[in-house]
């Protein structure tokens, strides 16, 4: 792409990545892509805000050249140390050897550990300012959104917040860099929730703190380091705030993430019956075969919906391993306070339930009931499965009504 002006003398200088398969080495982006947004402010002093992953070096430098000579960059603001925003750091230091990096004290320490750079570094903390000429940058600590060293940068003249990963999203940019220039934002909103649940969710408490902080600033544009730029910032702030509250207060919307896995189809057969019971009560359900779906796509639903159904057989006296993996990941991401039922078949001794219960304790998930049977389900099992689904839906609906009232 080319450098794009956001406001006079402030430019987007990002890269679209449509060829990496995994973000953070875990999360699939093969189909969706991702953007790394870097920004340039041209004034008496020239500043870059955040860099990009260490790919497409020529493109990155050529884009800077469209507006300034890259060797004359004075400051590079490192809001967040993660290498998808700092991968270009050694290159930039070689190109502009007199550049001063700007970030928190922790960023300074981490920069040394990650890149072994001996460089000019200006440490900033909440409230500190950096004059560039007509533009002034202000810095705010937003620790654990989503690393401990993270800061946000605010440009007061044009009222732009550069919060790095906060308010970011997967999804390569499709033509425009501005959210308000898209007819349909559904793809980006979905990818923002997937990104939130994969990357930020664990730090929801800190995200809420950061949101409270930025609400004290007069912001007209939010320019994150992944995904779209929001000239109607309330839209993305409201979404992030809603999602952060799912992790700290509300435990999610009325709906069910239906996780199942089946070795030879016996648990799958009852999956249909349980799902039917749920559907009859008119509750939203999203069904995932956990052996065939990457957890990245499951986490947004686990995050969003209050109910979880676990359909898992016993496998060698334990929970079916792909199901255990999803629950491990949910534990790691602090997907807590859900309402749960479980069903599943066993071949000889069972054991999945025994394996599951301590995992649920860790997750603080409330197991209402479970149903197990040996081998293939009978018509009685089908009926029980359907009733189980109905009871669970009724329970969720009553919780939902309680909250609404």
């Amino acid at each position: 792409m080319v450098c794009i002006e956001i406001t006079p003398n402030i430019y987007w200088n990002g890269l679209n990545d449509r060829t990496s398969d995994l973000f953070e080495g875990i999360w699939p982006i093969t189909k969706e892509g991702v953007s790394y947004n870097s920004y340039i402010i041209v004034d008496d002093k020239i500043a870059l805000i955040d860099l990009v992953k260490g790919i497409k070096t020529d493109d990155f430098l050529s884009q800077i050249e469209e507006v300034v000579d890259p060797t004359t960059v004075d400051y590079i603001i490192i809001n967040h140390m993660e290498p998808d925003h700092t991968g270009m750091i050694k290159t930039m230091q070689k190109v502009a050897p007199n550049v001063t990096f700007v970030g928190s004290e922790r960023t300074k320490q981490m920069l040394e550990k990650f890149y072994h750079l001996n460089t000019n570094f200006l440490v900033v903390k909440t409230g500190d300012k950096l004059e560039l000429g007509t533009h002034t940058l202000e810095f705010y600590d937003i620790p654990f959104v989503h690393w401990p060293e993270t800061i946000a940068t605010y440009e007061r003249k044009n009222k732009i917040l550069f919060p790095c990963d906060a308010f970011g999203s997967y999804g390569a940019l499709g033509g425009s860099i501005f959210a308000d220039e898209y007819e349909d934002l559904e793809f980006y909103k979905e990818e923002a929730l997937r990104y939130y649940s994969n990357i930020v969710a664990k730090f929801s408490r800190f995200t809420l703190k950061a949101i409270n902080l930025i609400k004290t600033l007069d912001i007209e544009i939010i320019a994150p380091s992944h995904g779209l730029i929001w000239r109607n910032p309330k839209e993305i702030v409201d979404l992030y705030e809603k999602w952060a509250r799912y992790g700290t207060e509300t435990a999610g919307e009325n709906g069910v993430t239906f996780l199942y896995a089946s070795m030879y189809g016996n648990t799958e057969k009852l999956m249909g019956a349980v799902a039917q019971g749920l559907s009859q009560e008119g509750i939203p359900i999203k069904i995932f075969d956990v052996a065939r779906t990457h957890v990245s796509y499951i986490l947004p639903y686990l995050w969003k919906y209050r109910g979880v159904v676990i359909g898992s057989p016993t496998y060698e006296a334990k929970l079916f391993p792909p199901m255990a993996y999803v629950l491990d990941m949910a534990t790691s991401k602090r997907v807590i306070n859900k309402e749960v039922i479980r069903f599943g078949s066993f071949g000889w001794s069972g054991g999945a339930q025994r394996d599951l219960e301590p995992r649920l304790d860790k997750l603080k998930w409330n197991l209402l009931e479970f149903y197990e049977w040996q081998g293939g389900p009978t018509s009685e099992d089908f009926q029980k499965g359907e009733e189980l689904g109905k009871r669970f839906a009724k329970h969720l609906k009553s919780l939902h009504l309680e909250r609404e009232s």
């Binding site: 620790p143 401990p148 730090f203 408490r205 860790k362």
Partner: protein, 44 residues
């Protein structure tokens, strides 16, 4: 010997080193590293 780990940032509270049992810490005690509340800690 009991240690508690902050599930948010990984900070470990060592009862032996601190001389105070985790359960005896006040309810409003927070993780010294990241500020997470007691409920975000688990025994390890």
């Amino acid at each position: 010997m009991t240690k508690w780990e902050c599930m948010i940032c990984g900070y470990v509270y060592d009862e032996d080193a601190e001389g105070v049992k985790f359960e005896d810490l006040p309810d409003d005690w927070v993780c010294p590293e990241c500020g997470a509340p007691k409920e975000d800690f688990e025994k390890i």
